[in-house]
Protein backbone atom coordinates (compact mmCIF):
# COMPACT_ATOMS: atom_id res chain seq x y z
CA UNK A 1 0.00 0.00 0.00
CA UNK A 2 1.12 3.48 -0.56
CA UNK A 3 0.84 6.43 1.70
CA UNK A 4 -0.17 9.73 0.24
CA UNK A 5 3.36 10.98 0.50
CA UNK A 6 4.74 8.06 -1.42
CA UNK A 7 2.43 8.50 -4.38
CA UNK A 8 4.03 10.42 -7.22
CA UNK A 9 2.33 12.15 -10.12
CA UNK A 10 2.76 10.00 -13.19
CA UNK A 11 2.80 6.78 -11.25
CA UNK A 12 0.98 4.07 -13.15
CA UNK A 13 -0.48 0.65 -12.42
CA UNK A 14 -1.73 -1.97 -14.89
CA UNK A 15 -3.92 -5.02 -14.78
CA UNK A 16 -4.71 -7.65 -17.43
CA UNK A 17 -7.90 -9.74 -17.74
CA UNK A 18 -9.49 -12.04 -20.40
CA UNK A 19 -13.28 -11.89 -20.35
CA UNK A 20 -14.99 -15.27 -20.22
CA UNK A 21 -18.65 -16.29 -20.54
CA UNK A 22 -18.44 -17.33 -16.94
CA UNK A 23 -17.63 -13.73 -15.99
CA UNK A 24 -20.94 -12.78 -17.75
CA UNK A 25 -22.96 -15.39 -15.85
CA UNK A 26 -21.48 -14.26 -12.52
CA UNK A 27 -22.19 -10.63 -13.33
CA UNK A 28 -25.79 -11.38 -14.35
CA UNK A 29 -26.32 -13.38 -11.20
CA UNK A 30 -24.90 -10.58 -9.07
CA UNK A 31 -26.64 -7.66 -10.68
CA UNK A 32 -29.71 -9.26 -12.21
CA UNK A 33 -29.04 -7.39 -15.43
CA UNK A 34 -30.03 -10.11 -17.93
CA UNK A 35 -30.59 -7.72 -20.79
CA UNK A 36 -30.86 -9.92 -23.83
CA UNK A 37 -28.06 -8.00 -25.52
CA UNK A 38 -25.63 -9.38 -23.00
CA UNK A 39 -26.93 -12.89 -22.60
CA UNK A 40 -28.94 -13.88 -25.65
CA UNK A 41 -26.96 -14.67 -28.82
CA UNK A 42 -30.02 -14.83 -30.98
CA UNK A 43 -31.21 -11.45 -29.80
CA UNK A 44 -27.79 -9.91 -30.20
CA UNK A 45 -27.63 -11.02 -33.78
CA UNK A 46 -30.65 -8.92 -34.53
CA UNK A 47 -28.93 -5.79 -33.26
CA UNK A 48 -26.25 -3.70 -34.89
CA UNK A 49 -23.76 -5.32 -32.41
CA UNK A 50 -24.43 -8.68 -34.03
CA UNK A 51 -22.78 -10.56 -31.17
CA UNK A 52 -23.47 -10.42 -27.39
CA UNK A 53 -21.77 -7.52 -25.66
CA UNK A 54 -20.06 -7.59 -22.28
CA UNK A 55 -21.63 -5.31 -19.70
CA UNK A 56 -19.73 -2.06 -19.63
CA UNK A 57 -19.55 -2.10 -15.85
CA UNK A 58 -18.04 -5.55 -15.90
CA UNK A 59 -15.01 -4.24 -17.68
CA UNK A 60 -14.95 -1.09 -15.63
CA UNK A 61 -15.02 -3.04 -12.39
CA UNK A 62 -11.37 -3.83 -12.86
CA UNK A 63 -10.63 -0.15 -12.27
CA UNK A 64 -11.83 -0.90 -8.75
CA UNK A 65 -9.25 -3.66 -8.54
CA UNK A 66 -6.37 -1.35 -9.40
CA UNK A 67 -7.46 1.43 -7.11
CA UNK A 68 -8.28 -0.93 -4.30
CA UNK A 69 -5.18 -3.07 -4.42
CA UNK A 70 -2.43 -1.19 -6.15
CA UNK A 71 -2.79 2.52 -6.45
CA UNK A 72 -3.17 3.57 -3.74
CA UNK A 73 -4.24 0.19 -2.40
CA UNK A 74 -5.33 -0.17 1.26
CA UNK A 75 -6.70 3.01 2.67
CA UNK A 76 -8.16 4.20 -0.62
CA UNK A 77 -11.40 6.12 -0.39
CA UNK A 78 -12.60 6.15 -4.04
CA UNK A 79 -15.21 8.88 -4.11
CA UNK A 80 -15.57 9.85 -7.77
CA UNK A 81 -15.40 8.03 -11.11
CA UNK A 82 -16.43 9.13 -14.55
CA UNK A 83 -16.77 6.58 -17.34
CA UNK A 84 -17.17 6.61 -21.14
CA UNK A 85 -17.79 3.33 -22.86
CA UNK A 86 -16.24 3.86 -26.29
CA UNK A 87 -16.26 0.45 -27.89
CA UNK A 88 -18.11 -2.85 -27.20
CA UNK A 89 -16.26 -5.55 -25.40
CA UNK A 90 -16.82 -9.17 -26.38
CA UNK A 91 -16.26 -12.49 -24.65
CA UNK A 92 -12.72 -13.55 -25.30
CA UNK A 93 -11.31 -10.03 -25.31
CA UNK A 94 -8.05 -9.44 -23.50
CA UNK A 95 -8.34 -6.25 -21.49
CA UNK A 96 -5.54 -4.03 -20.20
CA UNK A 97 -6.70 -1.74 -17.42
CA UNK A 98 -4.49 1.17 -16.42
CA UNK A 99 -4.58 3.90 -13.82
CA UNK A 100 -2.20 6.87 -13.89
CA UNK A 101 -1.84 9.61 -11.31
CA UNK A 102 -2.60 12.94 -12.91
CA UNK A 103 -2.76 15.28 -9.95
CA UNK A 104 -2.23 15.43 -6.22
CA UNK A 105 -4.21 17.66 -3.84
CA UNK A 106 -2.07 17.82 -0.70
CA UNK A 107 -4.49 19.66 1.52
CA UNK A 108 -7.20 17.03 1.20
CA UNK A 109 -4.81 14.17 0.47
CA UNK A 110 -6.67 13.41 -2.78
CA UNK A 111 -5.25 11.94 -6.00
CA UNK A 112 -6.77 12.17 -9.46
CA UNK A 113 -6.28 9.18 -11.72
CA UNK A 114 -6.70 8.73 -15.47
CA UNK A 115 -8.37 5.35 -15.84
CA UNK A 116 -8.33 3.58 -19.23
CA UNK A 117 -9.17 0.13 -20.57
CA UNK A 118 -7.63 -1.11 -23.84
CA UNK A 119 -8.39 -4.35 -25.67
CA UNK A 120 -6.02 -6.76 -27.40
CA UNK A 121 -6.06 -4.55 -30.45
CA UNK A 122 -4.82 -1.62 -28.47
CA UNK A 123 -8.16 0.06 -28.93
CA UNK A 124 -9.38 2.24 -26.08
CA UNK A 125 -12.67 0.66 -25.04
CA UNK A 126 -13.33 2.59 -21.86
CA UNK A 127 -11.96 5.78 -20.39
CA UNK A 128 -12.61 7.75 -17.25
CA UNK A 129 -11.36 9.89 -14.39
CA UNK A 130 -11.08 8.68 -10.81
CA UNK A 131 -10.72 10.72 -7.64
CA UNK A 132 -9.40 8.93 -4.56
CA UNK A 133 -8.73 10.17 -1.05
CA UNK A 134 -5.81 8.46 0.63
CA UNK A 135 -6.62 7.63 4.27
CA UNK A 136 -3.71 7.74 6.74
CA UNK A 137 -3.50 4.66 8.98
CA UNK A 138 -3.25 4.65 12.83
CA UNK A 139 0.41 3.62 12.90
CA UNK A 140 2.69 6.55 13.52
CA UNK A 141 5.21 7.41 10.98
CA UNK A 142 7.99 6.72 13.39
CA UNK A 143 7.01 3.04 13.47
CA UNK A 144 7.63 2.80 9.80
CA UNK A 145 10.77 4.75 10.27
CA UNK A 146 12.04 2.21 12.83
CA UNK A 147 11.66 -0.85 10.66
CA UNK A 148 14.21 0.59 8.41
CA UNK A 149 16.04 2.15 11.40
CA UNK A 150 19.73 2.60 11.26
CA UNK A 151 22.04 1.33 14.05
CA UNK A 152 21.07 2.62 17.52
CA UNK A 153 23.59 4.32 19.76
CA UNK A 154 23.72 4.64 23.56
CA UNK A 155 25.72 7.11 25.62
CA UNK A 156 26.60 5.77 29.08
CA UNK A 157 27.76 8.41 31.53
CA UNK A 158 30.11 6.95 34.13
CA UNK A 159 30.81 3.96 31.96
CA UNK A 160 33.77 2.83 34.03
CA UNK A 161 31.85 2.48 37.28
CA UNK A 162 30.25 -0.76 38.43
CA UNK A 163 26.76 0.02 37.13
CA UNK A 164 28.13 1.88 34.10
CA UNK A 165 30.24 -1.00 32.93
CA UNK A 166 27.49 -3.56 33.40
CA UNK A 167 25.17 -1.25 31.46
CA UNK A 168 27.66 -0.83 28.59
CA UNK A 169 28.02 -4.58 28.18
CA UNK A 170 24.31 -5.24 28.49
CA UNK A 171 23.40 -2.61 25.90
CA UNK A 172 26.10 -3.97 23.58
CA UNK A 173 24.48 -7.39 23.86
CA UNK A 174 21.14 -5.72 23.11
CA UNK A 175 22.60 -4.47 19.82
CA UNK A 176 23.59 -0.90 20.65
CA UNK A 177 26.82 0.84 19.70
CA UNK A 178 28.26 2.52 22.76
CA UNK A 179 29.75 5.84 23.69
CA UNK A 180 31.62 5.10 26.91
CA UNK A 181 32.04 8.25 28.97
CA UNK A 182 34.79 8.47 31.56
CA UNK A 183 36.43 11.18 33.59
CA UNK A 184 39.65 9.81 34.99
CA UNK A 185 39.81 6.12 34.31
CA UNK A 186 40.95 6.06 30.68
CA UNK A 187 42.47 2.60 30.85
CA UNK A 188 39.34 1.05 32.21
CA UNK A 189 37.26 2.80 29.56
CA UNK A 190 39.52 1.42 26.84
CA UNK A 191 39.23 -2.05 28.31
CA UNK A 192 35.46 -1.80 28.23
CA UNK A 193 35.65 -0.59 24.64
CA UNK A 194 37.59 -3.71 23.75
CA UNK A 195 35.02 -5.90 25.42
CA UNK A 196 32.19 -4.19 23.54
CA UNK A 197 34.00 -4.66 20.27
CA UNK A 198 34.45 -8.33 20.98
CA UNK A 199 30.68 -8.53 21.21
CA UNK A 200 30.56 -7.26 17.65
CA UNK A 201 29.55 -3.70 18.35
CA UNK A 202 31.29 -0.36 17.90
CA UNK A 203 32.46 1.70 20.86
CA UNK A 204 33.98 5.11 21.43
CA UNK A 205 35.50 6.40 24.69
CA UNK A 206 35.09 10.10 25.42
CA UNK A 207 36.54 11.90 28.42
CA UNK A 208 34.46 14.65 30.03
CA UNK A 209 33.98 16.42 33.34
CA UNK A 210 30.21 16.39 33.62
CA UNK A 211 30.08 19.24 36.07
CA UNK A 212 31.14 21.49 33.18
CA UNK A 213 28.39 22.31 30.64
CA UNK A 214 30.88 23.09 27.90
CA UNK A 215 32.55 19.73 28.25
CA UNK A 216 29.18 18.03 28.06
CA UNK A 217 28.48 19.92 24.88
CA UNK A 218 31.78 18.85 23.35
CA UNK A 219 31.22 15.26 24.32
CA UNK A 220 27.82 15.17 22.69
CA UNK A 221 29.05 16.85 19.53
CA UNK A 222 31.92 14.42 19.23
CA UNK A 223 29.58 11.53 19.76
CA UNK A 224 27.17 12.76 17.12
CA UNK A 225 29.95 13.36 14.67
CA UNK A 226 31.16 9.81 15.07
CA UNK A 227 27.89 7.97 15.14
CA UNK A 228 25.45 10.39 13.57
CA UNK A 229 22.91 9.85 16.30
CA UNK A 230 22.47 9.18 20.02
CA UNK A 231 19.25 7.35 20.87
CA UNK A 232 19.76 6.45 24.52
CA UNK A 233 21.32 8.24 27.47
CA UNK A 234 22.03 6.18 30.59
CA UNK A 235 23.34 8.41 33.37
CA UNK A 236 25.23 5.96 35.62
CA UNK A 237 27.77 8.27 37.18
CA UNK A 238 27.93 8.18 40.97
CA UNK A 239 30.22 9.35 43.68
CA UNK A 240 30.73 8.39 47.30
CA UNK A 241 27.72 9.36 49.40
CA UNK A 242 28.84 11.65 52.21
CA UNK A 243 27.68 10.92 55.75
CA UNK A 244 26.84 14.26 57.36
CA UNK A 245 25.32 14.54 60.80
CA UNK A 246 22.35 16.88 61.09
CA UNK A 247 24.17 19.42 63.22
CA UNK A 248 26.90 19.70 60.57
CA UNK A 249 24.64 20.15 57.56
CA UNK A 250 25.05 23.29 55.46
CA UNK A 251 23.27 24.50 52.35
CA UNK A 252 26.39 23.93 50.29
CA UNK A 253 26.14 20.20 51.08
CA UNK A 254 22.82 20.23 49.32
CA UNK A 255 23.95 22.34 46.39
CA UNK A 256 26.91 20.06 45.88
CA UNK A 257 24.62 17.03 45.63
CA UNK A 258 22.38 18.95 43.26
CA UNK A 259 25.37 19.80 41.06
CA UNK A 260 26.33 16.17 40.91
CA UNK A 261 22.90 14.71 40.43
CA UNK A 262 20.64 17.32 38.82
CA UNK A 263 22.75 19.83 36.94
CA UNK A 264 24.63 17.27 34.86
CA UNK A 265 21.39 15.54 33.96
CA UNK A 266 19.80 18.75 32.83
CA UNK A 267 22.82 19.70 30.71
CA UNK A 268 22.98 16.28 29.12
CA UNK A 269 19.27 16.30 28.27
CA UNK A 270 19.55 19.77 26.78
CA UNK A 271 22.53 18.71 24.69
CA UNK A 272 20.92 15.53 23.41
CA UNK A 273 17.35 16.73 22.93
CA UNK A 274 17.66 18.39 19.53
CA UNK A 275 18.95 15.21 17.89
CA UNK A 276 16.34 13.08 19.58
CA UNK A 277 13.53 15.41 18.63
CA UNK A 278 14.65 15.31 15.05
CA UNK A 279 14.53 11.53 15.09
CA UNK A 280 11.28 11.74 16.95
CA UNK A 281 12.64 9.17 19.40
CA UNK A 282 14.91 9.15 22.44
CA UNK A 283 15.40 7.38 25.76
CA UNK A 284 16.83 9.01 28.85
CA UNK A 285 17.51 6.90 31.93
CA UNK A 286 18.50 8.19 35.37
CA UNK A 287 19.57 6.34 38.46
CA UNK A 288 17.81 7.13 41.71
CA UNK A 289 18.08 5.41 45.11
CA UNK A 290 16.03 3.33 47.53
CA UNK A 291 17.08 5.86 50.14
CA UNK A 292 14.68 8.38 48.61
CA UNK A 293 11.80 6.15 49.74
CA UNK A 294 13.45 4.59 52.77
CA UNK A 295 15.94 7.06 54.21
CA UNK A 296 19.23 6.33 55.98
CA UNK A 297 20.56 8.55 58.70
CA UNK A 298 23.13 11.26 57.77
CA UNK A 299 22.21 11.19 54.07
CA UNK A 300 19.84 14.12 53.84
CA UNK A 301 21.63 16.07 51.09
CA UNK A 302 21.98 13.01 48.90
CA UNK A 303 18.40 11.87 49.46
CA UNK A 304 17.04 15.32 48.72
CA UNK A 305 18.96 15.43 45.45
CA UNK A 306 17.75 11.99 44.40
CA UNK A 307 14.17 12.94 45.22
CA UNK A 308 14.66 16.07 43.13
CA UNK A 309 15.97 13.88 40.33
CA UNK A 310 12.62 12.10 40.31
CA UNK A 311 10.96 15.48 39.93
CA UNK A 312 13.26 16.32 37.04
CA UNK A 313 12.53 12.98 35.44
CA UNK A 314 8.80 13.38 35.66
CA UNK A 315 8.57 17.04 34.66
CA UNK A 316 10.78 16.74 31.62
CA UNK A 317 9.20 13.42 30.68
CA UNK A 318 5.84 15.24 30.59
CA UNK A 319 7.15 18.07 28.45
CA UNK A 320 9.21 16.08 26.00
CA UNK A 321 6.91 13.08 25.52
CA UNK A 322 5.05 14.65 22.54
CA UNK A 323 8.44 14.95 20.87
CA UNK A 324 9.10 11.24 21.32
CA UNK A 325 11.58 11.46 24.18
CA UNK A 326 10.93 9.08 27.08
CA UNK A 327 12.58 9.83 30.41
CA UNK A 328 12.57 7.20 33.19
CA UNK A 329 14.65 6.18 36.17
CA UNK A 330 15.61 3.10 38.14
CA UNK A 331 16.06 3.32 41.93
CA UNK A 332 18.17 0.47 43.26
CA UNK A 333 18.95 -0.51 46.85
CA UNK A 334 22.58 -0.92 47.95
CA UNK A 335 24.55 -2.22 44.95
CA UNK A 336 27.74 -4.24 45.45
CA UNK A 337 30.36 -2.27 43.53
CA UNK A 338 33.73 -0.61 44.11
CA UNK A 339 31.90 2.46 45.31
CA UNK A 340 30.35 0.54 48.17
CA UNK A 341 33.37 -1.63 48.93
CA UNK A 342 34.01 0.26 52.15
CA UNK A 343 30.57 -0.43 53.57
CA UNK A 344 31.17 -2.78 56.49
CA UNK A 345 30.60 -6.44 55.68
CA UNK A 346 28.19 -6.62 58.58
CA UNK A 347 25.92 -3.93 57.17
CA UNK A 348 25.90 -5.74 53.85
CA UNK A 349 25.03 -9.06 55.47
CA UNK A 350 22.30 -7.48 57.56
CA UNK A 351 20.84 -5.69 54.58
CA UNK A 352 20.79 -8.93 52.63
CA UNK A 353 19.19 -10.75 55.56
CA UNK A 354 16.43 -8.17 55.76
CA UNK A 355 15.77 -8.19 52.00
CA UNK A 356 13.00 -10.56 50.92
CA UNK A 357 15.13 -11.83 48.03
CA UNK A 358 17.98 -12.27 50.52
CA UNK A 359 20.79 -10.56 48.63
CA UNK A 360 22.14 -7.20 47.65
CA UNK A 361 21.50 -5.69 44.24
CA UNK A 362 24.14 -6.41 41.63
CA UNK A 363 25.29 -4.05 38.90
CA UNK A 364 23.83 -6.57 36.43
CA UNK A 365 20.41 -6.23 38.06
CA UNK A 366 20.47 -2.47 37.43
CA UNK A 367 21.80 -2.95 33.90
CA UNK A 368 18.91 -5.33 33.25
CA UNK A 369 16.33 -2.67 34.06
CA UNK A 370 18.24 -0.05 32.07
CA UNK A 371 18.23 -2.48 29.16
CA UNK A 372 14.44 -2.68 29.36
CA UNK A 373 14.12 1.09 29.58
CA UNK A 374 16.45 1.52 26.61
CA UNK A 375 14.54 -0.94 24.44
CA UNK A 376 11.39 -0.45 22.39
CA UNK A 377 9.59 -2.67 24.87
CA UNK A 378 9.21 0.31 27.18
CA UNK A 379 8.15 2.80 24.52
CA UNK A 380 4.87 3.55 26.29
CA UNK A 381 6.62 4.05 29.63
CA UNK A 382 7.66 7.56 30.59
CA UNK A 383 8.12 9.52 33.81
CA UNK A 384 8.34 6.19 35.63
CA UNK A 385 10.59 5.23 38.55
CA UNK A 386 11.29 1.52 38.66
CA UNK A 387 12.22 0.51 42.18
CA UNK A 388 14.79 -2.29 42.28
CA UNK A 389 15.31 -3.48 45.83
CA UNK A 390 14.63 -7.21 46.14
CA UNK A 391 11.28 -6.50 47.78
CA UNK A 392 12.48 -4.27 50.61
CA UNK A 393 9.64 -1.88 49.81
CA UNK A 394 6.73 -2.42 47.49
CA UNK A 395 4.67 0.37 46.02
Amino acid sequence: MKTYAEIQVGQKETLHHIITSEDISKFVELTGDDNRLHVDEKFASTTPFKKPVVHGMLGASFISTIIGTKLPGDGALWFSQSLEFLLPVRVGDELTITAEVLKKHDKEQIIELKTEIHNQNKQLVTKGLAKVKVIATEKPETQTAKIEAPQRVALVIGGTGGIGMATCLQLAKDGFDLIVHYNKNKEKAEAIKTQIESLGRKALCIQSNITDDKEIQHMVEKGLRNFGRIDVLAHCAASVIPNIKFQDLTWSDYTKQFELNIKSSLSLIQALAPGMIQEGYGKIIHIGSLAADKPNADWSAYITAKSALEGLTKSLAFELAPKGIRINMVSPSLVSTELTADVPEKIKLMTAAQTPLRRLALAEDVAGVISFLASSKSDFLTGENIRLNGGQIMY
Binding site: E345, K346, L349, M350, A353, R358
Partner: protein
Protein backbone atom coordinates in the same frame (compact mmCIF):
# COMPACT_ATOMS: atom_id res chain seq x y z
CA UNK B 1 38.31 -22.28 64.99
CA UNK B 2 35.16 -20.43 65.83
CA UNK B 3 33.52 -21.64 62.66
CA UNK B 4 33.18 -25.27 63.69
CA UNK B 5 32.19 -24.44 67.27
CA UNK B 6 29.40 -22.25 65.99
CA UNK B 7 28.20 -25.10 63.78
CA UNK B 8 28.24 -27.48 66.78
CA UNK B 9 26.10 -25.13 68.79
CA UNK B 10 23.66 -24.59 65.96
CA UNK B 11 23.43 -28.32 65.30
CA UNK B 12 22.59 -28.99 68.97
CA UNK B 13 20.12 -26.15 69.42
CA UNK B 14 18.17 -26.77 66.22
CA UNK B 15 18.45 -30.57 66.49
CA UNK B 16 19.84 -31.14 63.01
CA UNK B 17 22.88 -33.15 61.91
CA UNK B 18 26.16 -31.26 62.04
CA UNK B 19 26.83 -31.65 58.34
CA UNK B 20 23.60 -29.92 57.42
CA UNK B 21 24.85 -26.60 58.83
CA UNK B 22 26.79 -24.52 56.32
CA UNK B 23 27.60 -20.92 55.32
CA UNK B 24 24.10 -20.44 53.95
CA UNK B 25 22.19 -21.72 56.96
CA UNK B 26 19.61 -19.17 58.04
CA UNK B 27 16.14 -18.80 59.50
CA UNK B 28 14.92 -19.37 55.95
CA UNK B 29 16.20 -22.89 55.61
CA UNK B 30 16.37 -24.33 59.15
CA UNK B 31 12.85 -25.36 60.03
CA UNK B 32 13.30 -25.48 63.78
CA UNK B 33 14.71 -21.95 64.01
CA UNK B 34 11.83 -20.13 65.66
CA UNK B 35 11.90 -17.27 68.14
CA UNK B 36 12.00 -19.53 71.22
CA UNK B 37 14.89 -21.56 69.86
CA UNK B 38 16.58 -18.30 68.87
CA UNK B 39 16.79 -17.41 72.55
CA UNK B 40 18.28 -20.83 73.31
CA UNK B 41 20.81 -20.20 70.54
CA UNK B 42 21.90 -16.93 72.13
CA UNK B 43 22.28 -18.58 75.54
CA UNK B 44 24.28 -21.44 74.07
CA UNK B 45 26.57 -19.14 72.05
CA UNK B 46 27.22 -16.95 75.08
CA UNK B 47 28.12 -19.98 77.15
CA UNK B 48 30.27 -21.55 74.45
CA UNK B 49 32.35 -18.44 73.74
CA UNK B 50 32.16 -16.76 77.14
CA UNK B 51 30.79 -13.54 75.64
CA UNK B 52 27.77 -11.40 76.24
CA UNK B 53 25.84 -10.60 73.08
CA UNK B 54 24.49 -7.02 73.14
CA UNK B 55 20.72 -6.58 72.95
CA UNK B 56 20.81 -4.83 69.57
CA UNK B 57 22.71 -7.70 68.03
CA UNK B 58 20.45 -10.45 69.28
CA UNK B 59 17.84 -9.86 66.59
CA UNK B 60 20.42 -9.64 63.82
CA UNK B 61 21.84 -13.11 64.22
CA UNK B 62 19.57 -14.64 61.62
CA UNK B 63 22.10 -16.54 59.57
CA UNK B 64 25.43 -18.31 59.92
CA UNK B 65 27.51 -15.52 58.35
CA UNK B 66 26.15 -12.85 60.66
CA UNK B 67 26.67 -15.09 63.69
CA UNK B 68 30.27 -15.76 62.66
CA UNK B 69 30.98 -12.08 62.12
CA UNK B 70 29.45 -11.01 65.41
CA UNK B 71 31.12 -13.74 67.49
CA UNK B 72 34.48 -12.94 65.91
CA UNK B 73 34.02 -9.29 66.84
CA UNK B 74 33.07 -10.09 70.44
CA UNK B 75 35.77 -12.66 71.04
CA UNK B 76 38.61 -10.30 70.13
Amino acid sequence: MNNSRIKQVMSAVFEVPLDSINENSSTDNLENWDSLRHLNLILALEEEFGVSIPDEEVGNLVNFKLIELTINELVK
